[in-house]
């Protein structure tokens, strides 16, 4: 491209220190980071809207820290019993924990407290949602491939910690809803064979709910997990800079460069502006949309429960998994195995998240691809992966819906039992359907691309030859588009190789390799391979001689006399 210059050509300017004005020079003389900063400020990032999804998560995290600090100034992490004497009259005089009373005080008696609480909670909702959307972008574009597998794992770690962090925060106010949520969690922990009882006594410091959990959860919520997430954010961003950002294919973009704008000033402006937009939208939501009205739930009392007891959205799929499971348990040797909790809470979710966390390694092993990738895949060009992603989304989404099965029933006027039964089958059938459908759509899109590449665009111009034959003129697509469409690799399934080598020695791990070859064929077998240069040449030369494609009779009829049908 004519407007593309390499940074390398601009790199050698005058000596770095000479450029700085005196105060900056004073600092640079002492810190010596001017050169480093100069280099990194010119760091180039590619431009695409989907590359900004992770930023939403980062900014939400910053908002969470800021509003969280505000909340710690008034929140009292204690389960000591107090009589509420604040200004919310409907609970006045009730006995409750200090944690709940101070949450009410933040909501009603601290200036700006309710706004801060609501911004904090909305930011938590958005933080985890943004991480998940970001994860999906990484997944569908194949940005997790070598060398970025570990960054995927780090990102996954942040998502996992974020969910735990959110859940602890949900438990802190000690209202009826959070207490009910903790009770369910306690039940899940108890369901783990043998160690369950010991674990709940360890976590809650005795019988549930006890007097300890708020102060314990508080320390973990404000100190331990945010610290861990902050460390992982640093590592995540460091690796992004180190690996350089991935980019979509296009003219001038290769596996060896990054085409885009420099950090300073373009991305400083874009990202900085985006931070304020995220903060603004979160603050607006905090100001206009009521979230977690703890005063309506009342103080936690193990004897009480309320309809609509649900966790925050990111735990919803776990709730749904438990709601869908038919109840059965078995007893032997004095041990009770509660399968209705073990399977939906302690087997399926960990298995699911482990699969997600390890996906880059699983795909890498199946495809046998050891190369570095800096150009992103278009989802259609890897139909099987895209299908797997759709299946995972469907599975997750159906469990998520099941977590709100009661509200689905009341709001759509259907039977709760029917919702549950449809979803019980849906979680098995849905992902398979989604996989198959998405893969077929991706393959069809690939074929459409192939068609554009080889035959060009249908121009809509109908030509009649002297003999009376009707045909439609096709116009070839531009070189830029053709380049973009053909940048991706041809996907070749992994070959299992001969059973024995030339010396007659049997290849090791043959059974495993056979499985691998089968999986690899499953991954790539139906994908449309991009045409070779010769094929394109052939198609085009064919086009020059007779650059119109003949219409079938019906097509001609339909096209030429449109008002006939």
């Amino acid at each position: 491209m004519s407007d593309t210059k390499t940074v390398a050509s601009q790199k050698e300017g005058p000596a770095a220190t000479a450029e700085f004005p005196p105060p900056v020079k004073w600092l640079d003389d002492r810190l010596g980071i001017g050169k480093l900063g100069k280099k990194n400020l010119r760091k180039v990032f590619p431009d695409h809207w989907s590359f900004m999804l992770g930023e939403i998560a980062l900014y939400s995290f910053i908002i969470l820290i800021l509003t969280g600090i505000f909340l710690t100034l008034w929140f009292r992490p204690s389960m000591a019993e107090v009589e509420y004497q604040g200004s919310y009259s409907l609970l006045k005089g009730l006995h409750m924990s200090e944690a709940y009373a101070s949450t009410l005080d933040i909501s009603f008696d601290v200036r700006g407290g309710l706004l801060m609480r609501q911004i904090h909670h909305w930011a938590a909702v958005l933080f985890i949602a943004a991480m998940m959307v970001h994860l999906l972008r990484i997944f569908f574009t194949g940005a997790f491939r070598k060398p970025r597998e570990l960054n995927w794992v780090i990102g996954f770690g942040m998502l996992f910690l974020g969910i735990i962090e959110g859940f602890l925060g949900y438990g802190l106010p000690d209202d009826l809803l959070s207490g009910t949520g903790l009770r369910i969690t306690q039940g899940m922990i108890q369901a783990s064979p043998i160690v369950g009882s010991y674990m709940t006594f360890f976590i809650f410091g005795g019988e549930f709910p006890g007097d300890d959990f708020v102060s314990r959860f508080f320390t973990v919520h404000v100190l331990l997990i945010p610290g861990l997430i902050l460390a992982l954010v640093t590592a995540h961003l460091f690796l992004v800079v180190y690996h350089k950002h991935t980019q979509f294919a296009g003219p001038g973009r290769t596996e060896k460069n990054v085409v885009g704008y420099p950090l300073m000033p373009v991305y400083m402006a874009k990202a900085g502006g985006f931070f304020f937009v995220v903060f603004g939208i979160t603050a607006l939501m905090g100001a206009l949309l009521q979230i977690n009205p703890v005063w309506l739930y009342g103080p936690y009392n193990p004897a009480e429960v309320t309809a609509g007891s649900q966790p925050d959205w990111y735990m919803g799929w776990l709730e749904g998994s438990v709601r869908l499971m038919p109840g059965f348990e078995s007893h032997f040797w004095g041990v009770t195995l509660s399968w209705n909790l073990l399977i939906p809470a302690l087997i399926i979710p960990p298995a699911f998240v482990t699969l997600v966390a390890l996906y880059p390694f699983i795909e890498g092993w199946i495809t046998g691809d050891k190369r570095e990738h800096h150009l992103l895949d278009r989802p259609r060009n890897v139909p099987t992966r895209t299908g797997i992603g759709a299946a995972f989304i469907t599975f997750y989404g159906l469990l998520w819906i099941a977590g709100g099965n009661d509200l689905v029933a009341t709001h759509f006027g259907v039977s709760l039992n029917n919702v549950t039964w449809v979803l019980r089958f849906g979680v098995f059938i849905g992902p398979v359907l989604a996989f198959w459908l998405t893969r077929r759509i991706a393959i069809s899109l690939q074929r459409a691309d192939q068609e554009r590449l080889l035959h060009g665009l249908e121009s809509g111009i109908i030509v009649r030859s002297p003999e009376g034959k009707y045909s439609e003129r096709h116009t070839p697509i531009g070189e830029h588009e053709a380049y973009t469409l053909t940048t991706h690799d041809r996907l070749v399934p992994y070959e299992v190789g001969p059973e024995t080598d030339t010396n007659g020695v049997r290849a090791p791990l043959r059974a495993l390799n056979k499985v691998r070859a089968k999986l690899s064929a499953f991954y790539y077998a139906d994908a449309v391979q991009k045409p070779t240069a010769a094929e394109i040449e052939d198609a085009h030369s064919h086009g020059h001689e007779d650059d119109v494609h003949e219409l079938t009779e019906t097509e001609a009829f339909r096209e030429v006399t449109p008002d006939k049908h």
Binding site: L126, L177, N257, G260, Y261, T306, D312, W313
Partner: protein, 297 residues
């Protein structure tokens, strides 16, 4: 002899003739006379003879019942089947006036169709007609009466009573009706309805009679003042403006998650698309793309 005869005491006279041929017949006649007189003395007079206002109301109620209710509940409110072995309407003998006042007063009865649950709708009868129906059903057998106005009068409820009502509400009601009285799902298409904008009298009657899926909270189990406090709390909830902004239906975290995704993430992604689509307007020549040198440098 004759003197002897006349001096005979009545007991002796009867005793002497107890084996007389017609003695049995005489005793029978006496018995019939006694029973007949007793019946005439104690039996209620014919209904037409009573012209009190109450009996008129019952009579009116009976007529309304025959037209609007009897097809399911039977001509004498004894309940009936639908011809397929299933119950079309239960017996109403002994349900009391409170049940009628609740069911008809909230429009649930007459039902439009059978189903998992009969929904609330605009009442089909006027208050006078409902009173007549209630009087008729109450006349069939004793049952809970329509509560007196002062038993659900919440205008004088103190803050303490409202708070107490909140505790009672959370202990007894929220499990089905939701923490804000918004209602919730029950098995097989049944549901606990919303308690918002319900007449205090009807809430009281619902607790008293346990309509449809609801358990009965009789005045012995839940004292009238408990009921009044719960109603006062519900009224306070209904009047309370959401201090945090739009309440999202007061349904809990599910609607919050929905709004977080649709509005929050939706808006943010839209902004990301907008920022992503914005090129760089450098002075002089349009966009200045730069390519970073080879990774291997």
């Amino acid at each position: 002899m004759s003197e002897k005869r006349t001096s005979l005491s009545p007991a002796r006279f009867l005793s002497a003739r107890r084996r007389h041929r017609s003695a049995g017949l005489v005793v029978l006649l006496f018995g019939l006379l006694a029973v007949g007189s007793a019946y005439a003395a104690f039996a209620p007079g014919p209904a037409v003879a009573d012209n009190s206002a109450q009996s008129q109301q019952i009579e009116e109620g009976k007529k309304l019942f025959a037209v609007g209710c009897s097809s399911c509940h039977g001509l004498n409110a004894e309940g009936s089947g639908n011809g397929e072995g299933k119950m079309a309407g239960p017996s109403l003998i002994g349900v009391g006036a409170a049940a009628v006042d609740f069911q008809v007063g909230t429009g649930r009865m007459p039902a439009m169709q059978t189903g998992a649950q009969v929904p609330r709708k605009t009442p089909a009868y006027t208050p006078e007609e409902i009173e007549a129906l209630a009087a008729y059903v109450a006349s069939l057998a004793p049952g809970p009466a329509v509560p007196a106005t002062d038993s659900y009068d919440i205008s004088k409820a103190t803050d303490e009573q409202v708070t107490r009502g909140g505790e009672l509400f959370r202990t007894n009601c929220t499990a089905c009706h939701n923490f804000a009285g918004k209602g919730g799902a029950l098995p097989n298409g049944k549901y606990a309805p919303s308690l918002m904008n319900v007449d205090p009298k009807h809430i009281y009657e619902a607790m008293l009679t346990g309509p449809q899926q609801m358990p009965v909270f009789s005045d012995q189990v839940m004292l009238p003042e408990d009921k009044r406090d719960i109603i006062a709390y519900l009224h306070a909830l209904q009047e309370q403006k959401d201090p945090g902004g739009f309440g999202l239906g007061r349904l809990g975290p599910v609607s919050e998650g929905l709004w977080g995704w649709l509005v929050g993430i939706g808006l943010l992604v839209a902004v990301a698309v907008w920022i992503g689509a914005k090129g760089v307007k450098a002075k002089g020549h349009g966009a200045t793309h730069k390519a970073e040198g080879a990774k291997a440098e």
